[in-house]
Symmetry: C2
Subunit: 348 residues, 2 copies
Amino acid sequence: MTIKEIAQRANVSLGTVDRVLHKRGKVSRKTKERILAILEEVDYKPNVYARGLALNKSFVVAALVPDSEEGEYWEVPSLGIKRAVKNLGQFGIKVNFFYFDQNNVESFIERTAEVLELEPDGVILAPVINFEATKFCFKLKAKEIPFTIIDSKIHGDNYLSFIGQDSFQSGRLAAKLLVSSVPKQGKIFIISIKNNENHNRTLQQRIEGFKDFMLSASNQDLLLEEINVDQRNSDWKINLEKICSRKNIDGIYVPSSKVHFVAEIIFNKKLSIKLVGNDLINNNFKYLESGIIDYVIGQRPENQGYMALENFYKFLVAKQEISKNVFLPLDIITKENLMYYKPQIELS
Amino acid sequence: MTIKEIAQRANVSLGTVDRVLHKRGKVSRKTKERILAILEEVDYKPNVYARGLALNKSFVVAALVPDSEEGEYWEVPSLGIKRAVKNLGQFGIKVNFFYFDQNNVESFIERTAEVLELEPDGVILAPVINFEATKFCFKLKAKEIPFTIIDSKIHGDNYLSFIGQDSFQSGRLAAKLLVSSVPKQGKIFIISIKNNENHNRTLQQRIEGFKDFMLSASNQDLLLEEINVDQRNSDWKINLEKICSRKNIDGIYVPSSKVHFVAEIIFNKKLSIKLVGNDLINNNFKYLESGIIDYVIGQRPENQGYMALENFYKFLVAKQEISKNVFLPLDIITKENLMYYKPQIELS
DNA sequence: TTGTAAGCGTTATCAG
DNA sequence: CTGATAACGCTTACAA
């Protein structure tokens, strides 16, 4: 049913129908109600093609994400955004990437300034630099630029949508997997590998979740130790080796994608330790394949990127409702199912 | 860059450009090459809105899937298809559902006849009735109706695309999970619960995969027994109870969504048996939540349905390339991550 | 307050 | 072989 047909039914011109559809201009109460009734009755749905053609405009979304080498974690959400551009670009959604160094607060601040200058129609934000990201969100709010947060939540709820993971539950899940793989009186290490001072909320919440599970799994009598390794020390690898070589370790949890560093040591030293970590990046893939890493927990980073842009398509172009909070599933990945988790990205 | 602009550059009318774009009508070699060169140079991409508006046609896809009660497995792929209709319907994709009784070959044959009569632009087929489904595929091929197979593969490769699971690997994964949860010399049962005579390939392949893993995990000394339960016997539940109550069972694998029947028995009789099955249907959900079922393996049935229709959108409407085979990940679902696997379907 | 008409980019038809 | 033109359904500016 087209506007024209509706106009005929209502004995008005299509201009009048348009006015009630868009609530612009004045329409007499009587005709307005008549048209509304017909609209309701025929369940009018505008033709997206005609609408898109007539409007003929496009939107720019800024993606503010960490830069990354090939095979690193943050490469993946970006690939998801790029795949979305490939699918949705034809509908008038464009993306500008702004890459910052996640170990350099200054670079983040510089990029945020650039984004504000661009005045995009939307922003996709990876809030890894927590404090500054929160400040940036206030500025976006002030400029009335809608933004979507990916990966992990930050303080405040003035965002358009959040797409990411539940880090606490991720830690609980890791604990479940590790606890059920080690002896009842085993010794478990949590090893955090970091190379900056930032308060990393994701890491912190995973560790809290891990401990939470350990406390509730009281039928076991496990020994738990928490260890930090600082990559800025030149001898951090030797240090890590020493830690892993201690006697009687049954399991190790690395609450980040850096679990492959531990895997490498376990492999080289032929240690027999159950190992659980996060994220199916290439370096972890090979150790999963060989069984050195027992489980990796994934949170569909490629999907996160894709959905973030898709949400802007829905919001800006299709004027659809979107979910404010999307927690993607925590995938348990192990040797036997990893082959189907590799994101199939073929960007030509 | 529009056709009009290209026509200007080439000193021809836009009708001529259109002819070379669509390879229809005759165009002199010289002008054709000139236009082609410009098209290449400016990387011409047609405006999807204008195209959709001008073509103004819509496509009908027939979905041939098992009927189901609420909470049963086959409800979910249908919900995925419906969600896709909600998103893609506006672009001119319509779906007609044809539900058959998966325990009644006749009903399947009747539905296939109805589908052929409709002459749809595409078919989504759940090939649970293997033999007849294969025959139907030949008929579709003869009528040149493209079809997508969901869930599990059947013989032949004349389909447009397949979207489903690797059942063999699903069985291997189940074995891995069960083996790592039971004692080294434990006793494991595979219990198949069926209510028809059909040769169910999915079930068979899962069992084969399970055994394959058991053979390769030779460091354990496990006892394996394979048991069939026929739901057409009036006393099948009592029978199942007896089986589960045998002495010294450490683990049970039910290679289907019917694992909740075993869970119910384990719960009622307070047995201590590790339990692994398939599919996050409601009945399994509650037993996972309480920890009676240890792991369920899922294959994203909602996604399967969604992607099947999305593929037809890509193929019929957007004229995009589509993957011939999509194996969706085998998700490991357990108490600690199940809350994020529930498909969030709100069909208003 | 209401009607009219141009224009969005593509497709398809018809006349030259 | 080529050019001109109507049509698709909607938006928007302008005229009545």
